[in-house]
Structures are given as structure tokens and as C-alpha cells.
């Protein structure tokens, strides 16, 4: 079996297939899966304080995709530290915490609170949240705001800091470079795309929150493109996310320049998806006569 290890600089992973935030809970509810094949787990998004989440209906299926508007339901950082970090500290697989806030300060506070807590291997900054101080503009759409929130977290921790990019921007490279400048160790591309589905009987949006984030295979070609653009723009590792259902899908991201991938919606359909993708990548490398994932030729012309 080829060596599927991934070196992300300040974090080494046993495999290139990670569990995406919000699709794996806190890592405690995924049965059947061989955890030795999970490269890392990114926790459900966490805020400082507990949040009830949005009213139902929260999800709607669409062609090859699903919309979700969970509303970052969660117990808040103190409960996370109390209830989950002690478990994580006993696991082999590294767990990163997905950070969310309404101001750069809130992100910084979260990182400070979690830094050094056993079981926390690093942070993934979710910049798809609205910046309440800047009038609800999303952090992820503005290079300055993205850099500010990255820097706020960077200042409070030596652990790996990843920034998860928003897709609905004209040039993802600009945001990517801003995050690198502010000290990010890796970038994750991408989060969900904003979408809407209409209930024809009620003549209103199917989701109570009106809009939701589109995930699943429908977005894969868009996500591959964005991850590729990000990988071309920066020299830190990029982790590809979006619509990966099988090894072939993951390989599209890897060949397009990603160091690793995250699997989200696929876990809903097949709780063993991550292990299946991991194994399939190994088989592809083997068929291709490659001994290591690091040796996979990438398609990554430099800008």
C-alpha cells in the first residue's frame, strides 16, 4: 500500500482524507467507520456561547446536492472543552476546532480559550460568518476582514491555523493571499455556496432560514476550480472540499494542487465514505505505480 501520509508543515496526517466541519459532529457519532483512515477531524463549528441553531426546516435536497441552514447550533466553547476535548485527547486522529464569531475579537478569544486544551490539535477558521461589527458583511468576501480574523487567531496560538475560504468571490486568490499574509498555515477551499429552494405549495423558501449552503457533488466542479485557483495563488497547503463522494472525486482535487481533502456530505450517505475514499486513493496510486501521495504529479501551473 502506498504511503498516504500528508505533511502540512506543522501537522503531519496519516492520510489525506479529513472529516469536514458540520458533517461529523464532534467525532463521537460516526459508527462503522475505520478511524485509522481518517486523516483528521474538523469539529462542528463552535462559537464562544451556546447557540440553539435555526428553526426547522433546516435542509433541502436539490439535484446532486443539499442545502443546509443549521445555524451553527452548538453548546459553546466551555461545554466543548468539558464534554468533548477529553475524549479527543485519547484519540489517535487529530481534531481541529472550527472557529466562528461575529468579530475578529470573538475568533481570537475562542482560540485563546482552546489553545493548550488537551485534545485540540489546531484550528480551522470559518470566515463565512457575517461580521457584525462591519455591518454584516461576510469576513470571507473581504481580504482585509479575512486577514484581520486570521491574525486575531494567529496571535493567540502556536497550533496550526487553517482558514476555510468562502466560494462566492470573484477572485479567491486575493482572499487566499490575504490569509497567508496574516499567518495562516493552510487554506481550506471551499465552504458551501449560498442557495435557495422554493416550496411551490407554500410559495416561500423551503428552508425556514430562507437561504442555505449548497454542498454535495453538484458543487464539485466549482470547488475543484476554486481550490485550484487558491493553490496557484499561495505556497502553503490547500485542502480541497466540495462534493467528494469517492476516490476519483478526491483525486481531482489532489491533482489540481491540493495537499489533502475534506469529505462532508458523503458521510451522510455512507458513514464509511472517508475510509472508502482513503482506500481508493491508495489503489489509484498503486495502479499508477506511485509509492507515495507526495509523488503524485500535480496539475499546477504557477500564475
Amino acid at each position: 500500500m502506498p504511503d498516504l501520509g500528508v505533511d502540512l508543515g506543522n501537522l503531519k496526517l496519516g492520510g489525506p482524507v479529513l472529516a469536514a466541519s458540520g458533517t461529523f459532529g464532534y467525532g463521537t457519532d460516526v459508527p462503522l467507520l475505520d478511524r485509522a483512515k481518517v486523516g483528521a477531524i474538523v469539529s462542528k463549528g463552535i462559537f464562544l456561547r451556546p447557540r440553539p441553531g435555526n428553526a426547522p426546516v433546516r435542509i433541502a435536497e436539490t439535484p446532486s446536492g443539499m442545502l443546509n441552514a443549521i445555524g451553527l447550533q452548538g453548546p459553546g466553547v466551555e461545554a466543548l472543552i468539558r464534554d468533548y476535548c477529553p475524549l479527543w485527547a485519547q484519540w489517535e486522529v487529530p481534531v481541529l476546532v472550527n472557529l466562528n464569531g461575529e468579530s475578529a475579537d470573538e475568533y481570537g478569544e475562542l482560540a485563546a480559550r482552546l489553545d493548550g486544551v488537551p485534545g485540540v490539535a489546531g484550528f480551522e477558521i470559518n470566515i463565512s460568518c457575517p461580521n457584525v461589527e462591519q455591518g454584516g458583511i461576510y469576513f470571507g468576501n473581504d481580504p482585509r476582514a479575512a486577514a484581520e480574523v486570521t491574525a486575531a487567531v494567529r496571535r493567540r496560538t502556536q497550533l496550526p491555523v487553517w482558514v476555510k475560504l468562502t466560494p462566492m468571490v470573484p477572485d479567491i486568490g486575493v482572499i487566499a493571499r490575504a490569509c497567508v499574509g496574516a499567518g495562516a498555515d493552510a487554506l481550506c477551499a471551499v465552504n458551501t455556496f449560498v442557495g435557495m429552494a422554493i416550496d411551490l405549495r407554500e410559495r416561500r423558501p423551503r428552508l425556514a432560514f430562507k437561504t442555505g449552503g449548497l454542498s454535495g457533488p453538484a458543487i464539485r466542479p466549482l470547488a475543484v476550480h476554486l481550490a485550484h485557483q487558491a493553490a496557484r495563488a499561495v505556497s502553503i497547503p490547500v485542502i480541497g472540499i466540495g462534493g467528494i463522494m469517492c476516490a476519483e472525486d478526491a483525486l481531482e482535487f489532489l491533482i489540481a494542487g491540493c495537499a489533502a481533502v475534506q469529505v462532508g456530505t458523503a458521510t451522510f450517505v455512507d458513514p464509511r465514505a472517508i475510509a472508502r475514499v482513503h482506500d481508493g486513493i491508495g489503489e489509484y496510486l498503486e495502479r499508477s505505480g506511485l509509492a507515495t501521495l507526495a509523488g503524485l504529479p500535480r496539475y499546477l501551473p504557477r500564475d
Partner: protein, 254 residues
């Protein structure tokens, strides 16, 4: 919980009203399933997400049946499966009904496709030594079920064309020791008013069925949301904030 590629071993269409029943060879599920639990079925080719179905029957021969009406993409594909075809089943999932022999008797109250968990509920109730009254409601006589189990059957129709003239809830005989209900969320809200301690199986959309997506939020009166697939689908009726639970889901339409 198990995930298995299960072969279709039986397909039958029931009653005028077009309920379908499909049986899968799924011994691991058949052995362990309890009333109120569901299986999450993957149809390929088919829609992205699995579709949850209450387990209708589970036999000693290892056959698990689900009952449904072809109303959309998933159920139409399910109805197109023929004997020998295969589908992936994930289950059993969710928290089942619980039974207490101290009740003496129990009423199983079902509306429309809410019959789905009731044959197993009757089985588990009998195993707990309970007398079982099954009360089933439909809009009209043509939509009534012909399959039932238990000690007594009470039928009700909205239009009075058969049995009790009125809702299933109104038709429940007095004196039963406990009430278990399944049906449109609207009907369950009525159950909650009359029997706050009733156990009800609710329906929500589900993303995963295993507890990781938080898509299946059930609003509770304490202000929290929990997961229909994990803490549910069976709830104490008084716990649920019925006004906040969507009542327009597709299963519930029947």
C-alpha cells in the same frame, strides 16, 4: 447499527389507496430492530440522500419490510425495485418506543402512513404483556388499512364512510393504559393535547440519519432543538413544541 446491501425479496401493493410494501433480506436489522426505529435506504441510481423508512415488519426469516406510497423521487424508485434488486440499508436507527407492563393496555394510534411502525409496536407491546388496541384513522373507507395486529381494531374515517365518524384521536377508547401514536405531525399535536404522556414518532427531513448533520431538528418546549434521528424519532408528546414543528412534510401528506 448495520449497513448492508440488501436484496429485495418481496414487493406487494396494498389496498385501493396504493400503499406499497417492499421486503428486504436484512437479517441483522430484522433481529435487532424495535418498534419506532427506522432504516435509511440508499437508492442508486437515485437522489443524493438516503430516505428514512420506519420498519413495518421484521420476520424471523430475516426479512424487513417498509410501507410507503410513491409520492416522489425516492418512493417511486423504491416502488420500481423488483425481486432480486439490491439497495443499501442503514439501520436500525433512532430511539424506539418503550413499553411498560404496568400499563395493562396500550392504544396504538395511527393516521395514514403512520401505520408504518405499528405492527412492530403491537409485537413489542404483546411481548411486554400488554393488551393492544389499534386505532387507525383515514379520510375515507377506501384509505383504510387491511393489515393490522393486536387485540382490538378501531377504525375511524373523517367522512364517516366506515367505522367511527371522526379522527383516530377522537376514536381512542377510554381506559387505555398508554398511547403510542404515529401519523401526520398535525395529528400528533392533537395527541399531545389529550395525552401529554403519549409517545409519538415524529417526521422530519433527514440529512444523515446518524446524528452528525443536525438537519432533523425537533423543536422542544424547553427551547432546544434535538435530533429526530438520535434522541427521536420517538418523543414524549408534551416535550415537543408542536407549533414550531413543520407539519407539511411529505410522509405526513398521506
Amino acid at each position: 447499527m448495520h449497513e448492508l446491501t440488501a436484496e429485495v425479496v418481496s414487493v406487494r401493493q396494498r389496498g385501493e389507496h396504493g400503499f406499497w410494501v417492499t421486503g428486504f433480506a436484512a437479517a441483522e436489522v430484522a433481529e435487532s430492530v424495535r418498534a419506532g426505529q427506522f432504516v435509511n435506504i440508499l437508492l442508486r441510481p437515485g437522489p443524493l440522500l438516503r430516505r428514512p423508512f420506519s420498519v413495518y415488519t421484521a420476520s424471523a426469516e430475516g426479512v424487513v419490510e417498509v410501507i410507503y406510497k410513491p409520492v416522489g423521487e425516492g418512493t417511486e424508485l423504491l416502488a420500481s425495485l423488483r425481486i432480486g434488486d439490491r439497495a443499501s440499508l442503514l439501520g436500525p436507527l433512532g430511539r424506539p418506543f418503550s413499553f411498560d407492563s404496568a400499563w395493562g393496555s396500550v392504544a396504538l394510534v395511527s393516521g395514514g402512513l403512520g401505520v408504518a411502525p405499528m405492527p412492530l409496536a403491537a409485537r413489542d407491546a404483546k411481548a411486554a404483556g400488554l393488551r393492544v388496541v389499534w386505532v387507525h384513522g383515514a379520510r375515507t373507507s377506501g384509505e383504510l388499512q387491511s393489515e393490522w395486529s393486536g387485540d382490538e381494531l378501531v377504525e375511524a374515517t373523517d367522512d364517516g364512510s366506515a367505522g367511527f365518524h371522526g379522527t383516530a384521536v377522537a376514536a381512542v377508547p377510554s381506559g387505555v393504559g398508554a398511547v403510542l401514536a404515529c401519523g401526520p405531525n398535525r395529528m400528533l399535536a392533537a395527541v399531545a393535547e389529550r395525552w401529554p404522556e403519549a409517545q409519538v414518532a415524529v417526521e422530519t427531513y433527514m440529512g444523515c440519519g446518524t446524528g452528525v448533520c443536525l438537519g432533523c431538528a425537533v423543536p422542544k418546549l424547553d427551547g432546544a432543538y434535538d435530533r429526530a434521528c438520535k434522541e427521536g424519532p420517538v418523543y414524549r408528546a408534551a416535550e415537543v413544541d408542536w407549533a414550531a414543528l413543520p407539519s407539511q412534510l411529505h410522509y405526513a401528506v398521506a
